[in-house]
């Protein structure tokens, strides 16, 4: 008889309300060992509150937190065997890098000899062995963050918690550290919960993501799935999947009239909630010459170019169709750039449009 394995981390109906407002509504999520859960959302959406409840820094008003099968809801932080990396790094200023990293081991009464070995190993993993005797104030932001990471992993925590650890770093360092973090987490088989407002980080680091808004989870799933097929308007907008256009019920049941005046019948019928919007990816809209033949499921519109943005892989244009919101399209063709104010014809491929639930 095979048992379904108990998920490594389980939040059941965890909720917290603050007297002044905010907080998070009853949330449940399961996470397997070795997986990274990303909580994605803007400030105030409750992601840090959830993280703090896993850490034990906040006690939930209801619900339970189970780690490794044990109910740790009422257990104080220092007995949970978790680790946390903070946005402000929170390195102890009066200690050296090595002493900082050793702190967790010291609290757990690991013998000195073993401490030395494990600290050296952790510093080697984050490539900072040569800075072991420096103080935090002498390090750069990226280096401090790596020390914070070493300090958090050296204790072999059950769950590694990260609270927007890369937000205060320069873009270049952020991308670099993101990759290192992913590699480390995979190699060490760490289970983790990562909080961020940056969707690129969420997509790069998460095995599962939860998209949150004002205290509740809007949508969740594997990053690839959520990005390829968001279900909710909010998700599509937050992940910058594409241009979101309002839609209302169309002339025929099952069809919808979009803000561009085009009627679309999505392949997947709506569930309990009707669709309220459609998302067109930047690659689903393209500039066309008038001589090109059309095809079913595509519509053409004349539009004025209102913005031109150069990106590493191509050019992003914002085009305004009269009486409609601005559409954003992306083309990798940079040989004949269109200028601001030009009138062009764009073609929208509605077969690729993603139907979304609104509200």
């Amino acid at each position: 008889m095979t048992e379904t394995p108990v998920p490594y981390l389980r939040l059941s109906g965890v909720a917290k309300t603050y007297p002044g407002g905010g907080g998070v509504r009853a949330t449940s999520v399961d996470l397997d060992e070795g997986e990274m859960l990303v909580l994605l959302g803007p400030s105030g959406c409750g992601k840090t509150t959830l993280l703090n409840m896993v850490a034990g820094l906040l006690e939930p008003d209801q619900g339970s937190v189970l780690i490794g099968g044990k109910d740790l809801t009422r257990v104080p932080t220092h007995q949970r065997n978790i680790s946390m990396v903070f946005q402000t790094w929170a390195l102890f200023p009066s200690m050296t890098v090595a002493q900082n990293v050793a702190f967790g081991l010291k609290m757990r009464r690991v013998p000195k000899a073993e401490q030395r070995v494990r600290v050296a190993e952790a510093l080697r993993v984050v490539r900072l062995e040569h800075l072991a005797d420096r103080r935090p104030a002498q390090l750069s932001g990226g280096q401090q963050q790596r020390v914070a990471l070493a300090r958090a992993i050296v204790t072999r925590p059950r769950v590694l918690l990260l609270d927007e650890p890369l937000s205060s770093l320069d873009h270049q360092i952020r991308v670099e550290l993101r990759r290192e973090l992913r590699r480390l987490q995979r190699e060490l088989g760490l289970t983790g919960v990562y909080v961020t407002h940056d969707h690129a980080e969420a997509l790069a680091l998460g095995d599962r993501i939860l998209v949150m808004r004002t205290g509740e989870v809007v949508e969740g799933g594997e990053p690839r799935e959520v990005f390829a097929r968001p279900r909710h308007r909010y998700t599509a907008e937050f992940l910058s999947v594409g241009t979101v256009l309002d839609a209302e019920a169309g002339s025929v049941p099952g069809s919808y009239r979009t803000a561009l005046g085009v009627e679309v019948t999505p392949a997947e019928p709506a569930g309990e909630q009707p669709y309220g919007a459609f998302c067109l990816r930047p690659t689903s809209i393209r500039p066309v010459g008038e001589w090109e033949p059309g095809s079913p499921g595509r519509s053409r519109h004349t539009a004025t170019v209102v913005s031109v943005e150069y990106e590493p892989a191509g050019i992003s244009y914002g085009v305004q169709i009269e009486g409609a919101p601005v559409l954003y399209l992306f083309t990798s063709r940079t040989d004949t750039p269109t200028a601001l104010g030009d009138r062009i014809v764009v073609e929208c491929d509605w077969t690729e449009a993603i139907p979304l639930v609104a509200a």
């Binding site: 034990g56 220092h78 946390m84 402000t88 929170a90 200023p93 609290m107």
Partner: protein, 264 residues
Amino acid sequence: MRRTPSWFALTVSVVLLVPLVVVVGMAFNPGAYSVFPPQGLSTRWFEAAWSNPSFRRALGLSVQIAGITVVVGLALALPAALAVVRGAPRVRRAVQAMTFGPLVVPEVLLGLGILILVNRVAGVGNAGVWSIVVGHVLVGIPLAMQVLIAGLSGMSPQLERAAWTLGASRMQAFVRVTLPLAAPAIASAALFLFIFSFDNVSMSLFLSRPGSTPLPIYMYQYIQYRADPTVAAMSTLLIVVGLVAALLVGRLGGLTQIAGRSKK
């Protein structure tokens, strides 16, 4: 990089220091009267002061009282400062209201009040060392709290939380993370309390009794009967103690804290 001090700062400093210079100068005068500038350099008045048993008793009492004031004052001011820095807004307001009261009331009135209280509770004439300590601690606490709050508020509460996540209990986190960072502020507060108590006149005046007088009161009484520079010598001692304390506080970075800005 040194900035040349402004003329204004120099003038003010000179004005503040002149009385001290005069007193110290008078202490070295060989003759038995207080003149400035001194007509020679003699240490006989320092010897005279030192060989005076009443002086030594008064000095010992001042040091004792100051020492107790530091210990008791810190023991009360530190938790209060922590409550102000870390506590909920309601707690903060309550603590501030309770502890800043003594700063508003004139010391003389406080001293008188304590004297009356002691007379009622313990009988007339029983005010002494402990009454003086009570008075010094009452006014010393808010002063010490200023220094402590400035020092503690520069510290992020994330640091203690980080310690908890690493397995430290609240007490361990406090001792291993918060205290070492607060040490300079605590030391500054201690020195500040010591000097405040050692130099205090207003309250000690009301609360000392014959045979139990701290040094400043003893000197005050001495001057009423004699005009020799012994008092100047004793004053020089007080000045030196004050200077040493101020230097130490400065090195600990405490002077900016006392001025109300935390060290950054």
